[in-house]
């Protein structure tokens, strides 16, 4: 434990700025993935254990698109759309058959998907890790704010993820589609009885969730390695976020993601060897004390 270092950091503006910026960026990327996961659970009642694979596929699609077009925007778009379409296919052909079945079935089907996708990716792109690299246009010197270092690309990432989060919030809160989705989460039978095509709703929700994960994968492709199995650690973290935030609560996911982001960034200074353990302990505490999480409905 290095609490004196932590105290020093919190009281020094440059350290505070650097670590906070880092925590925000980590948290927002995590939020993208976790929001998809919690949305899918909230509406479809499905624990998408294969969510990390959509993150991975988003990164690979982005890599492929960037290789062809040299455009970051095209890469991100390819990641989102590609992951969403893939998610749609899986939902229609595989996952829709196990709606309502117990969590064991869901686990096994998703496990199968993970195994297959990891191998497919190896066959198409090879077993080696790949790196997209930050595009030259985005390779500007970092911002120095109050003595703290905020990389240019991270600021861009934060801006993009904030926009996506805002669109998500608007879409869920203000549009007709969003209202239908929220209703379907509470009472799918009623929604169906009202003449709304629940199949379409389910399919689009899954596609959106997968697309969000794909977006996170595509956005982080320039700075992280793209490799088979890249989805695993992000999956574990997004599960922790979903549990802490409450399964089905997007607002809870945002809060939890930011908590985790800050735990990572300040934790690496205060308790560097125990950051992993700290996250699992928070998750365990939430499950023991308030299983429905920060934002979840009590007793759900």
């Amino acid at each position: 434990m290095e609490l004196t270092e932590l105290a020093e950091c919190v009281t020094s503006l440059s350290c505070l700025v650097t670590q906070s910026a880092a925590g925000l960026t980590i948290g927002m990327l995590l939020f993208l993935v976790a929001s998809g996961l919690t949305l899918i659970f909230g509406v479809l009642g499905l624990v998408n254990f294969a969510h990390g694979s959509f993150y991975m596929m988003g990164a690979y699609f982005a890599l492929a698109a960037y290789g062809v077009t040299e455009s970051f925007a095209a890469a991100v778009l390819a990641g989102i759309v590609g992951a969403a379409l893939l998610g749609l296919a899986f939902e229609r052909f595989l996952l829709s058959r196990i709606y309502g079945q117990d969590v064991l079935m869901q686990l096994l089907v998703c496990y199968g998907i993970i195994l297959i996708l990891d191998d497919v990716v190896k066959i198409i792109w090879g077993a080696d890790f790949r790196s997209m690299g930050v595009p030259d246009s985005l390779r500007q010197p970092p911002f120095i704010i109050g003595g703290g270092v905020v990389p240019y690309f991270y600021a861009i990432l934060f801006a993009i993820t904030a926009v996506i989060a805002a669109v998500l919030a608007f879409g869920m809160g203000r549009t007709r589609f969003g209202r239908i989705v929220r209703a379907a989460a509470i009472n799918p039978g009623m929604v169906g009885a009202l003449g709304i095509n629940t199949t379409l709703v389910y399919a689009s929700v899954f596609a959106i969730g997968a697309g969000l994960a794909g977006a996170a994968g595509a956005l982080s492709a320039p700075i992280r390695s793209v490799v088979a199995g890249a989805g695993v650690s992000i999956l574990i973290e997004s599960f922790i976020v979903t549990v802490i935030g409450g399964m089905g609560s997007i607002g809870g996911a945002l809060a939890a993601s930011l908590i985790l982001g800050f735990t990572r960034s300040f934790g690496s200074i205060g308790f560097p060897l125990f950051v992993e353990g700290a996250m699992f302990i928070i998750m365990a505490l939430v499950l023991i004390l308030r299983p429905s999480g920060l934002g979840g409905r009590r007793g759900s």
């Binding site: 117990d102 096994l108 089907v109 195994l115 191998d119 497919v120 574990i236 399964m247 699992f280 302990i281």
Partner: protein, 316 residues
């Protein structure tokens, strides 16, 4: 219930026979010991999943605990194998008691996640406590295997025999447990916890007991594993091992007593064949998994039993 055991036994023998074709005699021994290890792990987990209705994602924690406890005891020297096994099982049961006490109050998905969280915590602990466990390298230096009661576990034939004996003993014990009033109570808890509560059964205590018993048997399978590889590795307590155990139960059947054993045989068979034939292990395993879960929608023996039951009903 006798006929389903017979039928299960025949199907099991069939799969085992398939595996043995083309194996040298020591390949047979290898398969026997692996079958004992994973079969026991799967059977222990099914006490939780099939009989009590508790889906645990973190069962491998007890597998790992058993392996490491036994390995550390034997490496410290001065322990006889039976004594070390007993202590390892006890230590594992204790761990299951502590973790179970916190987990079994929760319902379905939260229970699953909390067991997973504790398992990953144990895994992190194993990785970071390098001085004790060797970290990611595992327990190094081998495990001494002094003879006891005329058995030399250093010899593969003896180890295979001992493993099968432990499996058999455990299967008999589990059968007794399941057929006892305790087992009946567990089944009632699975099917209708409210009714059980109204009847005055402490849901919490029964579930905790099941959790501890299942953990103890998993600990024994961990002991066998550490004898087999002469060490212990962090992957024993990783979620992939839990996942494989669930896969085996699923393959064979949850509702039939010997289902997990059949599933283990199928799983080992598939694993060995696929590894020997191709590099694309994930592709084939994943596809087979999808076919079984989406096509059959239940384990093999469950499917067979239901088909037989349907036929019996259809017959005039």
């Amino acid at each position: 219930m006798g006929r389903d055991i017979l039928l299960a036994g025949m199907i099991l023998a069939g799969f085992l026979g398939l595996e043995f074709t083309g194996l040298g005699s020591s390949g047979l021994l290898d398969f026997a010991i692996r079958f004992a290890i994973f079969g026991l792990l799967a059977m222990s987990l099914n006490l939780l999943i099939g009989t009590t209705g508790l889906v645990s994602f973190g069962h491998a924690a007890y597998f790992g605990m058993g392996a490491y406890s036994f390995g550390l005891l034997m490496q410290s020297g001065g322990w006889s194998i039976p004594a070390a096994i007993a202590v390892a099982i006890l230590a594992t049961a204790l761990l299951a008691l502590v973790v179970g006490a916190l987990c079994v109050r929760l319902s379905e998905i939260y229970f699953a996640f909390l067991t997973l969280a504790f398992q990953m915590l144990l895994h992190s602990l194993i990785l970071s406590w390098i001085g004790l466990t060797g970290g990611d390298q595992g327990l190094m230096g081998g495990i001494p295997k002094p003879g006891f009661w005329g058995i030399e576990l250093a010899k593969p034939a003896h180890l295979a025999g001992f493993g099968m004996f432990c499996l058999l003993l455990s299967v008999v014990l589990l059968r007794q447990i399941i057929r006892s009033p305790f087992g009946a109570a567990l089944r009632m808890l699975r099917d209708n916890p409210d009714r059980a509560g109204f009847l005055g059964l402490s849901v919490y205590r029964y579930r905790l007991a099941a959790f501890v018993i299942a953990g103890a048997f998993a600990g024994l399978s961990g002991v066998l594993m550490s004898l087999y590889v002469s060490g212990a590795f962090p992957t024993f307590a990783f979620w992939t091992t839990s996942g494989e155990a669930i896969f085996m139960i699923m393959l064979g059947g949850i509702q039939v007593f010997l289902g997990p054993l059949v599933g283990t045989a199928i799983f080992l068979l598939l694993n060995d064949w696929i590894t020997a034939l191709t590099e694309h292990h994930g592709l084939f395993m994943g596809t087979i998994l999808l076919i079984i879960t989406l096509g059959l929608r239940k384990g093999l023996l469950d499917f067979v039993m239901e088909w037989r039951a349907a036929r019996r009903r259809a017959a005039p």
